[in-house]
Structures are given as structure tokens and as C-alpha cells.
């Protein structure tokens, strides 16, 4: 298994004919992802590198059986593009890579999808996700991954790669690595992903990469305490970040006394998560917890 994406994924890329969409879409295809269609209004009927282009998502779905949409549409049009993908019957997952979507648009789109199709949305402003050896949807460098038992979920991009790298270096493969993105209203939260990792028999342990801002890590901690039977290894970035400054991500900001890395670390530790202070220790910590796991069995 794996979560969200695997061999059954049939990918349509919104904005495949744009420079970003093209680069990553075909990089995903080169990894082995089944890229079946692109959507660019006005370019329907053309073809890009053997991939048919459609004017609308629904036409792409009808013609190709696409079941997963990845959005590279520019910020001004991305909210509309996500709504289009959510309305298309047959699309069961939307991955929105686009960075810089206005927060009001994100809030509206998130709630509307929850109230209507309930199609899972990963992102926006996320690196996407990869199930090593099966399917890569997004911008994660597939070369650094290997298939295996560790689920990874993260609010950060390159820090995720760092974590994957540490795992792979120690021979710990990944079931799926999900970048949920750094925006204030991510379509998919830590909790949503943890729920799936818990249900996935292939995933034996989970790495959770948090950062300052919001309360997603605290909510994850509550969920882990109540519902997770698998070991979780955590890392939180931003211990030294000053309050009131956006650290790159729109969501990564310490407001007043809430959202600090220390509070998040404490919450996770109280839920039984092994939290490391140094990302280079992630692999070791996972290996350690998994050893215990094996000896328990």
C-alpha cells in the first residue's frame, strides 16, 4: 500500500503547459507516475510530449480517467482551478503546489470543498507527495527516496527532503512522504495524514516535521495520544525564530505567546513522540524506535 498516491494514480496536471507545470509534470512522469493529461484552457486538442491537453478538467477526466489533479496554476487563478478539480467527478485527490494564493481565497475554497465534494486537497503551497517506487506527485526529488516502512509528513519542503535523506542514508525507506504545505489553511492537516498512516499496514513508523506558527502540531499531538499505535518521531523548526516575523511561509509566524517551537515540542513529547533537536538525528531516532518495535513483536 501507501497513502494518497500509488500505482493506481492517474495524474492530470492543471497548467502542464506552463514552465513549472511542464518541468515537474514530466519529472513526475519520468519517475514513473502515470501522467495522463494536462489542462490549459484554450490549448485543448493539442499534445505536449505525448500527453493530451484539454480545455477543462472534466473533459480530461472523461477522456483519460484521471483521478488525481495537480495544480500549477498561478496564484490569481489557482483557487478557481482547485474548485474546478474538486467539482470534476472522478478526481479523488487534488495536490496544489501553487505558492502565494491569497488567504481569503484559500479559506473560501477549503470550506466550500468540505461542504460539497469533500475531495481531499493537499496544499496549497506544498511540495506534493511521493510513494517511493510507485508514484511521485509534486516536486519531491525522487532520487533521495527509497521504498520502505516510514511515513513522513511535513509542513516544510526542503526540510522534508533532509528528513527523507537521513532516513534513506540509514536504509530506512518511506511508505509515503506528504508535504502538507506551509500556508495558514492547509487542505490536509497532520491529523488527516496521521489517520491514513495509522490505517496503512505498510507504514510502521511516522516522521512528523513541524514548524512554528498555528497549532497544527498541538492538534497532531492530541490525535497521536488518542489514536496512533505506531511510533512517531518529530522535529520542529524555528526555536530561534523571533516573534512577529513570517519565516518564509505565510503560516510560519509566532503570534504573541502561541505557536512557539518549544510549546509544540512539549505537546508532541507529552503525546509520546520522540522529538529530536537536530534534523540529522531523525534517522537514528527512527531506527531506535523501530528496533524497539521489532523487539516488542
Amino acid at each position: 500500500m501507501a497513502i494518497f498516491v500509488d500505482e493506481s494514480t492517474r495524474l492530470v496536471v492543471q497548467g502542464l503547459t506552463g514552465s513549472q507545470g511542464r518541468f515537474h509534470g514530466f519529472r513526475n512522469r519520468a519517475y514513473g507516475t502515470n501522467l495522463v493529461a494536462g489542462v490549459t484552457p484554450g490549448k485543448g486538442g493539442t499534445d505536449l510530449g505525448g500527453v493530451p491537453i484539454f480545455d477543462t478538467v472534466s473533459e480530461a477526466v472523461e477522456a483519460t480517467g484521471a483521478n488525481t489533479a495537480m495544480t500549477f496554476v498561478p496564484p490569481a487563478f489557482a483557487a478557481d482551478g482547485i474548485l474546478e478539480a474538486a467539482a470534476a467527478e472522478g478526481i479523488r485527490l487534488i495536490v496544489a503546489i501553487t505558492e502565494g494564493i491569497p488567504a481569503q481565497d484559500e479559506a473560501r475554497v477549503y470550506n466550500y470543498i468540505q461542504q460539497t465534494s469533500r475531495t481531499p486537497l493537499i496544499g496549497p503551497n506544498c511540495p506534493g507527495l511521493i510513494s517511493p517506487g510507485k508514484c511521485n506527485v509534486g516536486i519531491t526529488p525522487g532520487e533521495i527516496t527509497m521504498a520502505g516502512p516510514v511515513g513522513v509528513v511535513s509542513r516544510s519542503g526542503t526540510l522534508t527532503y533532509q528528513a527523507i535523506h537521513e532516513l534513506t542514508m540509514r536504509g530506512l525507506g518511506q511508505s509515503t512522504s506528504v508535504g502538507i504545505g506551509g500556508d495558514p489553511v492547509p487542505g490536509t492537516t497532520f491529523v488527516d495524514v496521521l489517520e491514513r498512516f495509522e490505517a496503512d499496514p505498510e507504514t510502521k513508523a511516522v516522521v512528523l516535521i513541524g514548524e512554528i506558527g498555528g497549532s497544527a502540531e498541538e492538534e497532531a499531538a492530541d490525535f497521536i495520544r488518542e489514536n496512533l499505535s505506531k511510533p512517531v518521531i518529530g522535529y520542529v523548526a524555528g526555536f530561534t525564530a523571533p516573534p512577529g516575523k513570517k519565516m518564509g511561509h505565510a503560516g510560519a509566524i509566532i503570534s504573541g505567546s502561541s505557536g512557539t517551537a518549544a510549546a509544540k515540542k512539549e505537546a508532541l513529547e507529552n503525546a509520546g513522540v520522540t522529538v529530536v533537536d537536530d534534523p540529522t538525528l531523525i534517522g537514528e531516532a527512527v531506527a531506535d524506535r523501530m528496533r524497539h518495535l521489532t523487539s516488542d513483536v
Partner: protein, 381 residues
Amino acid sequence: MDLFEYQGKELFARVGVKVPRGRMATTTAEAWSAAAELGGRVVVKAQVQVGGRGKAGGIKLAEGPDEAAARASEILGMDIKGHVVHRLWIEQASEIAAEYYASFTLDRAAKKHLALVSAKGGMDIEAVAAESPEALARLHIDPVIGLTNWQASELVYRAGLDRATARKSAAALRSLYDAFVSLDCDLVEVNPLILTGEGEILALDAKVTLDSNAFFRHPDFESFREAFTVDPIEAMARERDLNFIKLDGSVGIIGNGAGLVMSTLDLVSLVGGSASNFLDVGGGAGEETMKSALEVLTHDPSVRVVLINIFGGITRCDQVTGGIIEAARILDLPWPLVVRLDGTNAEQARVMLAEVASDRIVPAATMREAAEKAVALAGEG
């Protein structure tokens, strides 16, 4: 982007939120003219982005132009909690029958808009929430349909605002919410929102945070930046599309991806050093970007060493290394570099780096090692 009060009020007036008439002033002469133009009693208000202006003496009443000029000369140049007053907002004094509090923001946990309204305005709202929670009405708003009329009404009654003017208060809340949405704000907070003697509802203060992601819808908002005194290095970084934040330490940091850069800052601290900045070159940085980032740091005298931490995904390590080598060659960098590279084309990059390795360009195998070497070179650790 956090606006000054006068900028927030300008936007409020534009979208129909009622505010007292006022003028901006940067000199005592302008303060005099503003007061003369407005007529009657005025309030002279320091424009600083920090709470507690009033207590610090940054808000003063004046009976006419002369007094306004006198108050202005007292307030201009004042230091309020580290913020020097360069601008004043002179506005008509309002007769206050009641002071309320109202704010709209996004509740990230609920993923909905959150309205907070209280009949106890004019004071610190966190204190109100702690001491008399019943005086603070909280309501979630579905961004899909926005603040409904019944919700505005419910906020008024639950917060205990004056019943006789309930309709006007509800209308004021709706217009504030409309401002919050139509101006693409992350926060709209008015404290106090006042009921005047004539039964009008006015925003006597304005704390507005704009979402810079939405500036494509509001191209004129860019001009608000002009009012901010920006660190010249931050301005230079912004021009080059680099995400830069100045910090207090001595280890310059360059990395790709906000999470990785934050993590690098933390590691530097963990091994006993301190970062002089946050600098994220973003995804897909090449030679030019790296040269540009290094050049920006040459303008910061507090830097004693620079740690470059790159995890190549879209970013190619060989290109990054090319940029580093080129920059070192032409820029006459005043400090040593510690470089750690992993990911796409890292093998190749490490070979390139090994060729130029010296006490000025120090390769490191891991993030941890890079942090330790950098802190040692900074003479901190």
C-alpha cells in the same frame, strides 16, 4: 503587512467603514494645518506599530491648531518602546458614549473566520478575555457565505453592546467584515470602536494587516510600504527576490526553503552560536541567485562567517556551487564560507568544492558539522 493606523483608516474610509475625519502630519507645521483644516478639538496621535501609545504619552488632545502644533512637537521624535515617532495622525476629537472592541481574523484551527466583539473596548482585549470572558462574544464565520445579518446581530447582543443602537452596531460590524474580506486582510482590529453621543458607530483606531499574497488584486497597496522605515539590507534582498530577515547574531545563513533555513538557525544556536539573519533563496536557485545572496550579506557588518546549507531538489547543487565559487572570486568576501550540500547533483558539487577548499571555503558533510564549523569560525561556540 501591518499598516499604520492612518493607513488603515484611509482604507476603512475607502470601503465605507466610518472613521473620524483626520489628516496625516510629519511636522509641527503640518500638524497645525491639519488641525486648522479639521476645526474644533483634535487628537494628535503618534503613528507607531506598537501597543500602549496612549500610556506612553503618544496620544494627546488639542483645542486648536496652536495646541495641536505644540503637542505634535512633543510627540514627534518620541521613542515609544523602541519605535521612534516620525508620523502623526491628527483627527477630529469624538464624543465617546461607549467604547467597544471588534476584530476579524482567520482562526487557523477552525479554518474559519473568527469575529471577536466586546462591550469592553479601549483596553487590552486579552485582559478582557481573561477577566470577564462573558463580555467577549466569539463567533465563527463561514468564509463561503461570509458574515450573515443574523450573526452581526448575534454578536451585538451577545457582546452586550448598547441595545438602543443595536442595528447601527450590527451594520458597523458588517462593514468592518466587508473591509476584512474585500481588502484581503489577515486581521482587522478596532479598539476602540466607539458609540458617539449622536449614536454613530466610529472606528477610533485601526489595526489592519494586509495579505501581501493578494496584492495582485490591489496593486495600489504596494505604496503603503513607502511609509515603513526598512533596513537597507532587507530592502536590497527584497529587490533581489530573496526572503531575508535580519537577526542579532554573527553567523550569516543562506539556505533553500524556509523550513531548512529555520532549522539551520536552530542548529547554529544549538551548538552555541547565533545567526545574523534568515535568508531563503527559494526553490530552483542557480548561480546568479547565490551570488546575489552572498553580495547582500557583504553589506551586513555583523556577519563573521557565512553558512550555506542547500538541499537540492529542483535546485541543482552544482549550479549553486558554481555561484559560490564565482562570488568568492569576484566579490572579495570579507568572511569565510562553510558549505554543506546534499541532493540533486551533490556528488559533482562536492568535487567542485573540494577543488577550491581552503580556510575561506570550508566544505561540511552534514548540517550539524556545518553548524559546528561555522560557529567555531565565528569565534562563538
